[in-house]
Subunit: 218 residues, 2 copies
């Protein structure tokens, strides 16, 4: 029984990592849709959110099942309750990819305002944070989790830089305002991706060290 | 033992409701700070987020403790795992109040762009959704939960209306752009409050009916 339970936990970790890879890929694809002005790709991202949601249901059900059948305590209990929270963050990262895809479809109806440099950079950072936060979870690696929390500042700095640049575009030409606002919103959605990764990293630290980091780091 | 456990569950519900009342009050106060251009109130909201975070830790710890000590199954197990997720949403609603408070402090450094009518209305709707989603949780009331989900459309419509109005301000006068963008961001933070309430309501329906509503309603 005990061995079986640990196999189940291992399978759960693999499912969470697969879900993480999927939402990471959603971010990668939607940013490509932005840069290449590709409506088909943007719609594919929206469509593929079903797969993200299916993972959410699967992991949630599996966690409740394992809690009910094996009634774990201590570390394994914390691991399962943390997994249940992490899957919610992953699902919402998927929602941000959909939010971005919708702005991309709007943006593609007009001429491109400017070349995109900082937004893809911001997306890459946010994606890396998602991957590292999950790696930290499965390896119970608090050092890696702390690096994820620290990386959030860099993403925030990029967001501010994007905001200031787009503000000058808007000030100079009112016709640029609707496009600039959509790009600002995309930067905010990417910020939320990074925030979710930070939430996951903080939960990992809490899970391992059993103290509430997420309200003392700030 | 069993009776004791149900007393514990009752106490947990009361704590969740108290936390809900606190975050609702945070929204109410930050909107008053916006309308009355009150820096002191805005700072008080930021300061009081510690109390929200303390509740987060308290409920989370209590849920894990109850899972470990009583090893509940079926309905009680689902109730506790749902409570653990709900508390995360409540904590993030509190974060939105802080986000709004920071924009209020920025806005108070300049002249007021326009009288605020729709933003307070949007905040009232979002607040009501938070309250109703928690009432639905403690009463296991899926009808009420469904009404919360339906109310989200009204909040989205207000958000779009606010956006269009502020867009005209920006088009007419580029000097209005920074203030208008802060107000647009406030509307997005309120939208996130309503989204969190909707998430809670969907989890309530899932808890009671044990099927994943949140990915089929959309």
């Amino acid at each position: 029984m005990q061995r079986h339970f640990h196999e189940e936990l291992e399978a759960l970790k693999q499912t969470l990592l697969a879900m993480g890879a999927l939402v990471e890929d959603q971010i990668r694809r939607v940013m490509r849709a932005l840069v290449e002005r590709d409506d088909v790709e943007a719609r594919a991202v929206i469509e593929r959110d079903r797969e993200v949601n299916a993972y959410d249901v699967e992991v949630d059900e599996k966690c409740v099942e394992l809690l009910a059948l094996h009634q774990p305590t201590a570390g394994d209990l914390r691991f399962l309750t943390t997994a249940m929270k992490i899957v919610t963050d992953l699902e919402r990262i998927g929602d941000q990819a959909v939010n971005i895809a919708q702005r991309v479809l709007d943006l593609n109806q007009e001429a491109q305002l400017k070349p995109y440099i900082d937004l893809p950079r911001m997306a890459e950072r946010a994606q890396a944070m998602v991957k590292q936060s999950l790696d930290a979870f499965v390896a119970r690696d608090t050092d890696l989790a702390r690096r994820v929390c620290a990386a959030d500042d860099e993403v925030d700095a990029l967001k501010e830089q994007i905001f200031r640049e787009l503000l000058t575009f808007m000030m100079e030409d009112p016709r640029a305002i609707p496009r600039a606002i959509r790009l600002i919103l995309i930067s905010r959605f990417l910020e939320r991706v990074a925030d979710h990764a930070t939430n996951i990293a903080e939960m990992v630290i809490f899970m391992v060290e059993s103290r509430m980091v997420r309200h003392t780091l700030a």
